[in-house]
């Protein structure tokens, strides 16, 4: 039971990170119907920016931890958002209205480019960062078996919850959210009604990149080691999460992220670490076979 609880906490933490990345996939898919394959790379870039900013702050002599974390969070979000905006501008906007596979190919090309760009400029070796936030709260302590939630896990879960609430508010209550939902339903009609479609799509990428940057920072602080290749697997898992939850649905992305995180953690905890990816992907396949539009997705009825 204690072991189960501990795995549950670990799984929710991992799932939160996946969920944050998955939102970027699901939003972009919802609005322009393309798989943004470079999104995992945006996550990786976010964590590299956070790491470099952290070291730069340390070089400047700023060491008060809450302040440092706040600054690198903002820096990572702003700079990664610009990356998201530029990628959309360079690789996807020229192909809008083209056939469906064209932006997918540029997205894969962008993903290859970004991975190698980071590898060339920052080196291929892993970048370890010693744990910054240490300690935790012991929930259960019975003769040897300890269930603990670390402060870092608390920060991750709390940040994700706050971001999710803020985000749901943004989508459902603000005019930007209304514009996004309008573009999702019918871009031509939205533009006729005075919605700046290009701007809305750009902002969608910016928002997705911001959330990916938060995920990148959390990943860096939680695992303490990053390299230029982390974006691929995290991206594929997050996309799996988005599809599992029903692509295009925001709560679905979060739910899917949690599901993938829990499956992976429990599988590694109870069975084998080697096959945790196989477990996550197999669950995806099984869910999709029985519910082809994901957990919370609306079934798409194709009409003639």
């Amino acid at each position: 039971m204690e072991y189960f609880l501990q795995q549950l906490i670990n799984g929710i933490t991992l799932g939160s990170i996946y969920g944050l990345i998955a939102i970027g996939y699901t939003m972009v898919y919802g609005i322009i119907g393309m798989i943004n394959f470079a999104h995992g790379e945006i996550f990786m870039i976010g964590s590299f920016i956070a790491l470099t900013a952290f070291l730069a702050l340390a070089a400047l002599g700023i060491t008060f931890l809450p302040l440092v974390l706040l600054i690198i969070l903002i820096v990572a979000m702003v700079f990664t958002a610009l990356w998201g905006w530029s990628i959309e501008r360079v690789a996807y906007r020229p192909l809008r209205g083209s056939f469906r596979l064209a932006p997918l190919i540029t997205a894969i090309g962008m993903s290859i480019f970004l991975q190698n760009f980071v590898q060339v400029t920052q080196g291929a070796r892993v970048k370890p960062l010693p744990p910054q936030v240490t300690g935790g709260i012991t929930l259960i302590d019975q003769g040897g078996t300890v269930v603990q939630i670390s402060y870092m896990q608390l920060i991750i879960i709390a940040t994700t919850t706050v971001l999710m609430i803020g985000f749901s508010f943004l989508i459902s209550r603000t005019s930007l959210g209304r514009q996004q939902r309008a573009c999702e339903q019918d871009q031509k009609m939205a533009s006729l009604l005075g919605v700046n479609v290009d701007r809305t799509i750009s902002l969608t990428f910016v928002m997705g990149a911001c959330l990916a940057a938060v995920a990148g920072l959390m990943y860096l602080l939680y695992y303490g080691v990053i390299d230029f290749y982390i974006g691929f697997l995290a991206g594929v898992k997050a996309f799996t999460a988005a599809v599992l939850g029903g692509i295009g649905s925001l709560p679905g992305a979060m739910l899917g992220g949690l599901a993938i995180g829990l499956i992976e953690t429990f599988w590694s905890g109870y069975f084998s670490v080697e096959y945790k990816d196989v477990a996550a992907f197999s669950i995806l396949v099984i869910v999709l076979i029985f519910m082809p539009s994901g957990l919370l997705g609306r079934p798409e009825v194709e009409k003639v």
């Binding site: 690789a91 020229p94 400029t121 920052q122 096959y275 992907f281 995806l284």
Partner: protein, 483 residues
């Protein structure tokens, strides 16, 4: 300006200008064209360039200006301001040159779009057909051409040609699934891996040779195609893409971890070389050299491998072209265009999709077993997602459904990138091309796609024709929609 060229004006100003032009023409004066003033263009270009430089500066500051390295006691931060500033300057200069000298005539783009969709009758011997025949002859004669022209680089270039042909074959195989049947498959490398591992395991455990294993590898891959294809048949578009990607990863992870059976990360060694009617390409008894009396040379093995992959690739092409004329091929293309219409007409979409998956997988399996015999060693490292992405990129960049396009894209992408490795003068400039190989590959993918979204070969000849054969623009064909 558009009012002058098109003769129809949409705006009041345009109509006025048109009237003025008519008046001018009546007086025998040339029509008025507003010349863009050089000053305003210069200012606009400078503004563009400054914007680009600013964006590049912000984007790259954390990657060029800072560098983290592992040092004693943690990470060490080094500063590289000159590198960063020089890249910002390059961005400024590049953008300025492009907007000042290249983007002068915005109307040209509009004319280009309308041209590409035009329908024109195909000549009896189309340029594509002649090009294909010339390429085929060149491919057949290639080993001899290389032998006469470049004997010193013979082996390297032949090896490169084998690599390119492997990708051509994989591209043609994937073209059946994506280009003809319109099913987006992101895990094609799984079948490549199945083919390679089937051959390697059969050869090691049962001592079978290449020619016995080749059809078996194709058969196993086709079976896997059916097994993997079956659950995904109900899925649409991107769900199909992600599930095939997941299958590709699952197969790779299993190969990596099932150490007893597949050798795990160490892979499988000592895979036999192909033989010509039982004759091996080596010196000594039972060899090709002994039986034919031709003195042994290591290049013979490469020439033999080259002809095997050429034959396999041409077989793929031939079968694809013939299948397009059979009911099953017609059904694939119909499925790509409209699945609902297919079902209404009584086509069993399940069988049609499965057959496309299986056929594509079979050719992937053939290519895989060829890869195994060429390398003599396989490991899961060779079957990562990036391979699937490269094969899909070749198919899409070449122009989906176009057979010649796949060849051109393979030569450009694989050959071009490989040749980059050998540009010695770049080393002299302190620039190591091998390090930037994949970087340039990614950039090339983006550039080609933005330049020609429909692929390099962007016209199609329809499989079914009524009276007259016509070429049609690629944008009139539904492609890779992934129904």
């Amino acid at each position: 300006m558009s009012a002058i060229t098109s003769g129809i004006s949409q705006t009041p100003e345009g109509a006025e200008r048109e009237l003025e032009n008519q008046r001018d023409a009546a007086r025998g004066e040339p029509p008025y064209t507003p010349a863009p003033s050089a000053d305003s263009r210069l200012a606009a270009s400078l503004k563009d360039a400054a914007m680009t430089a600013a964006v590049v500066a912000v984007l790259t500051v954390f990657f060029f200006a800072f560098r983290t390295d592992i040092a004693v006691g943690g990470l060490n931060l080094t500063f590289r301001w000159p590198l960063w500033l020089s890249w910002v300057a390059i961005a400024f200069a590049g953008r300025f040159l492009i907007s000042y000298f290249l983007f002068r005539a915005p109307e040209r783009a509009v004319a280009g779009v309308s041209k590409s969709t035009s329908v024109r009758p195909a000549k009896r011997f189309s340029a594509g057909k002649i090009f294909g025949i010339v390429m085929l002859l060149a491919a057949l004669a290639l080993p001899f051409i290389l032998n006469t022209l470049l004997p010193s680089h013979n082996r390297y270039l032949l090896d490169l040609a084998i690599l390119i042909l492997t990708y051509v074959m994989l591209g043609w195989g994937l073209n059946i699934v994506v280009g003809l049947a319109g099913l987006l498959d992101l895990g094609y490398v799984a079948f490549y891996a199945v083919g390679a591992y089937s051959f390697a395991l059969l050869a090691q455990n049962f001592e079978l040779g290449f020619w016995v294993c080749l059809p078996m590898a194709g058969f196993f891959a086709a079976m896997w195609g059916i097994v993997l294809g079956f659950p995904v048949l109900r899925l649409r578009g991107d769900y199909l893409a992600i599930v095939t990607l997941a299958f590709g990863e699952i197969i790779r992870v299993v190969l990596l971890n099932w150490t007893d059976f597949t050798g795990g990360p160490n892979g499988l060694l000592g895979i036999p070389k192909p033989t010509l009617f039982g004759l091996e390409f080596k010196s000594g008894a039972g060899s090709f050299a002994e039986a034919t009396g031709i003195p042994y040379s290591p290049i013979q093995r490469f020439i033999f491998l080259y002809y095997i992959i050429l034959a396999l690739a041409l077989l793929t092409n031939f079968i694809t072209l013939r299948l397009r004329k059979l009911p099953i091929g017609r059904a694939w293309e119909a499925l790509r265009e409209d699945e609902i219409a297919c079902r209404s007409l009584g086509i069993n979409t399940t069988n049609v999709k499965l057959s496309a998956f299986a056929t594509g997988a079979m050719f992937g399996g053939f290519a895989g077993s060829f890869f195994a015999t060429r390398q003599g060693f396989i490991s899961p490292e060779s079957f990562t997602f990036i391979e699937s992405a490269i094969i899909l990129a070749i198919v899409v960049l070449g122009g989906l459904g176009s057979q010649v396009g796949v060849v051109i894209a393979s030569v450009v992408m694989i050959g071009g990138i490989e040749l980059l490795r050998n540009l010695g003068f770049l080393h002299a400039l302190g620039f190591d091309p091998t390090e930037y190989r994949m970087l340039i590959f990614g950039l090339a993918m983006i550039a080609i796609m933005v330049w020609k979204p429909r692929g390099l070969v962007s016209s199609r000849s329809p499989s079914a024709i009524y009276k007259e054969k016509k070429k049609i623009g690629a944008d009139l064909v539904a492609q890779g929609e992934g129904h």
